[in-house]
Subunit: 327 residues, 2 copies
């Protein structure tokens, strides 16, 4: 019997979940739920679409509900609410609010006997795991996380709000010299400006003052002022042709010392290079859906993060297969 | 109260454990056991040294025993034997024999109620974990493991057995072009020769036939014949000065496709660059000793691998600290 998965929210992440489930033989997508009129949502795989109001009627048809809403307003309400009815997985990524999200979700999931996996994806998610493993191994050392090269949705939106801008895409790019210094075990103290640059591709409206737009971007507090930012004005056609994707990625590094006199240096590096940020994130969520289902079957309950999940729960292989082929 | 750790076998790995324990505030090294005359073993930290025969008398003084012997003859006997008395951690790395080792150790540890962590280190160990995570996430893709640049003890030994060779050190080196092809998502099928080269530093005895030595190395079956091998003759002084260390490392990569038409490529890469192979391995073992102790406290028992250990058990942080600082 397959693990019955449902999706709430059919945006980029929800579509990624649909693709990811189709790559996993032990799972099936049983329904897509939306807060829009269901008939307005066209689902690639032809799976049934229902209004979100009907979710709680379908408790006996769904094993794991994938919450594909945003961290700002959707997940703070949805995860705790639906953990009363299903095992749930979310990608809550507002780092500062994870403790309160955890507490709220844990109360709901513990009460209902479900597993609620929160903050799954690559950061938080796989990057967090690598920070934890590397810190547990190299006890004396330094941590570094770089993001990119990749599209930052928030920064692209910020540019679009400037008067005279028709459309825009912003790439975050790690600074190679900073990376080289970290890999060389120089333990640099890096400022914001030294770690990442920002590259902006902007479509200006006809007659707009490009000099003014560029100045507004480069001096924008929080978003751009602390970075070396370059602005390229391109045509709408060029933006569509060359910047349609949502690539991302990044690196987690830890360097540390061992030995009687701390004479030996070590570098642990984990990196991701992703053509599609939402599709990769979806793949991680689907692996953790398998874990949620299995841990639930074993009688575990409550809110869990990637730190709480033994890796074996993620793989469709048997323990024997894992030991003989992956160990 | 600290976790009381003991070491059996005071070679490079045992010395590494001694260093690693000193970097972990929640642990203390209580004894070193050896099969040599104890008075002949000088321990850096001044910890008490006992003959291995006395181990079983000290069940109430030791929480976790670190088995620092070799995989060929020591661990196949020791791990199952001592799992009757203690939580144990080993670095058993004969991949093909892991299933039978697991079965034997599991019987002993399950019977005695202890945790026995086997095959801990970086390969098997951290590399295995990264293979598992990456395979669970990217379900359609290709796996690659590269080793080096690093010293292969087995290959160095093989050279030393050649007549006319006084001493030797062999480095295994990944081929950059192969790595670039993998990272470029070209999914290459790589032969042994295409993945690694072998670089040998040889001290010849006076009057030895260097041409003959070089030929014997390069044509040695299994060890060198399938690789592009370079041989450098150097003086004993040069070997001591430039090749005294035991560096190692390597990379685990998985590339895979997602999307409706499998149109998106992704690269997951994990790499290690280690000045001291045994000291890094020891750090991993010590983190898993903490996990063994904690899992034992929770009533778990039996043989475990890195796949069975939820990451949170490895860190000295509280769950709250982990979630707020690492997630």
């Amino acid at each position: 019997m397959k693990i019955r998965v449902a999706i709430l929210g059919y945006g980029n992440l929800g579509k990624g979940i649909e693709c990811a489930v189709s790559q996993n033989d032990d799972m099936e997508l049983v329904a897509v739920f939306t807060r829009r009129p269901p008939e307005s949502v066209k689902v690639m795989s032809g799976t049934a679409v229902y209004h979100a109001d009907r979710l709680t009627e379908m408790q006996d048809k769904i094993d794991v509900l994938m919450l594909c809403g945003g961290s700002a307003t959707d997940l703070p309400e949805q995860t705790a609410e639906y953990a009363k009815y299903f095992h749930v997985v979310d990608s809550f990524d507002t780092h500062a609010k994870i403790p309160e999200h955890f507490a709220r979700v844990d109360e709901a999931a513990s009460g209902s006997g479900h597993i609620a996996m929160i903050s799954v994806g690559w950061d938080p998610g796989m990057f967090s795991l690598n920070r934890l493993y590397a810190n547990a191994i190299l006890r004396e050392g330094s941590d570094y996380t770089f993001w990119g090269k990749g599209v930052s949705q928030g920064h692209s939106d910020a540019i679009r709000r400037i008067s005279g801008v028709k459309d825009a895409k912003q790439y975050t790019i790690p600074v190679e010299a900073a990376l080289a210094s970290v890999r060389g075990c120089e333990n640099p103290q890096l400022t914001t400006r030294q770690k990442h640059t920002r590259e902006c591709y902007v479509v200006a409206e006809e007659g707009a003052d490009r000099g003014q737009i560029e100045k507004e971007i480069k001096t924008m507090p929080n978003y751009f002022a602390d970075y070396d930012t370059t602005v390229h004005f391109i045509s709408e056609e060029e933006l569509k042709r060359d910047h349609a994707g949502i690539p991302h990625g990044g690196l987690v590094l830890r360097t540390g010392k061992t030995g009687r006199n701390k004479e030996h240096n070590h570098v642990i590096e984990y990196s991701l290079k992703l053509d599609s940020n939402p599709e990769f994130t979806a793949c991680v969520l689907v692996a953790y859906a398998r874990a949620a289902y299995r841990m639930g079957k074993e009688g575990m309950k409550g809110c869990k993060t990637v730190f709480d999940v033994a890796p074996a729960y993620l793989s469709p292989m048997t323990p024997e297969e894992m030991r003989s082929s992956l160990l």
